[in-house]
Symmetry: C2
Subunit: 198 residues, 2 copies
């Protein structure tokens, strides 16, 4: 049996994240979660608290390891604004489509559950904040980037950011429905065209 932990907290959390990503918060059962994590229920409760706490930690992990890294494309030196935006969008949509993970976006999927009324308050706030960060990051770029200012995009930064964020929600939904990356890339092209880029 044991006396020292026989599993890796980080690996277990990653597995739990995968289950939530595939099934959502309410749809992920403790049985499936613990089975995927390779541990049993008492170990899970000792290590993470309860389902809600586990979900919060899984969400934070997703934000840190799967969502935030894409933002780097927005501030890459020596790359034009258009290319930076395109790289960012393509990077996000690529992850929405990869077969290594469940299709779609963890945040958008679970945020859709909030309107059901079955999502506790703390996870709800975390998901809302996370989705808001996307628009905030885009607003920041379009407001302060010299190239964006030269193009006059700073005067409607919020509107443009909303458009791109909406596109990313749409591609996430499409990816979850099985639409391949190749088709969604053309959606990105048209989306950039719509806001006056490319």
């Amino acid at each position: 049996m044991s006396g020292k932990r026989t599993f890796d907290d980080e690996k277990a959390l990653e597995s739990a994240m995968g289950v939530f990503w595939k099934k959502g918060y309410a749809g992920a059962s403790l049985a499936e979660l613990t089975q995927s994590m390779g541990i049993n229920k008492p170990s899970m409760y000792r290590t993470f608290g309860n389902k809600e706490a586990l979900f919060i930690k899984a969400t934070q992990r997703y934000i840190e390891k799967n969502a935030q890294p894409h933002f780097a494309h927005l501030h890459q030196d020596g790359v034009s604004l258009v290319q930076r935006i395109k790289h960012y969008m393509t990077s996000v949509v690529s992850e929405q489509c990869t077969s290594e993970n469940p299709k779609g976006c963890f945040i958008f999927l679970c945020q859709g559950e909030i309107a059901s009324g079955d999502m506790p308050e703390l996870p709800s706030n975390l998901l809302n904040q996370a989705s808001q960060k996307i628009q905030d990051a885009l607003v920041e770029v379009f407001s302060h980037d010299p190239e964006a200012i030269k193009l006059g995009l700073n005067t409607r930064a919020a509107s443009i950011a909303l458009c791109l964020a909406t596109t990313l929600r749409g591609t996430a939904s499409m990816a979850r429905a099985g639409v391949p990356l190749s088709e969604l890339k053309t959606v990105i092209e048209h989306s950039l065209r719509g806001i006056g880029l490319s």
Copy 2:
């Protein structure tokens, strides 16, 4: 108590549709469904069969009464192509945002559950077909409409239809997250711009 049915099938089905629209398929419990329908479980099972059959009927009702009517805007006589598309998109997004119904789109929401693996086959097929109809209707317009052909949009009808369908999925997700109609209207404008219209 009775011998003749004491409730209206159509009203009950509409109530059930509202619950599925808010909670999704798996998230809608028989208790909440029957309570909203104003009947008890045996009456529901006798009238509609089971939860899956009820969901199928509710989905068909949504398609017929809430989704199909928007298509009329696409074929309105004496209206320019741009305006027809814009009217269609605005009509759909308006319904996604109205406070009379749950926010978002019934089809897109429930289709997202398919990837969880918990959605039976018949409802899955119905939802996939319904979402495909949107793109089909748009492809049809961009392929055969004289104005579209004159603009050369017929050569990339599928791509354009995918863009607009993606936008509608994005706005549905945004609406469910609480973004108001006024902001999403500007998203429609930019989206039309991206495909070469307006």
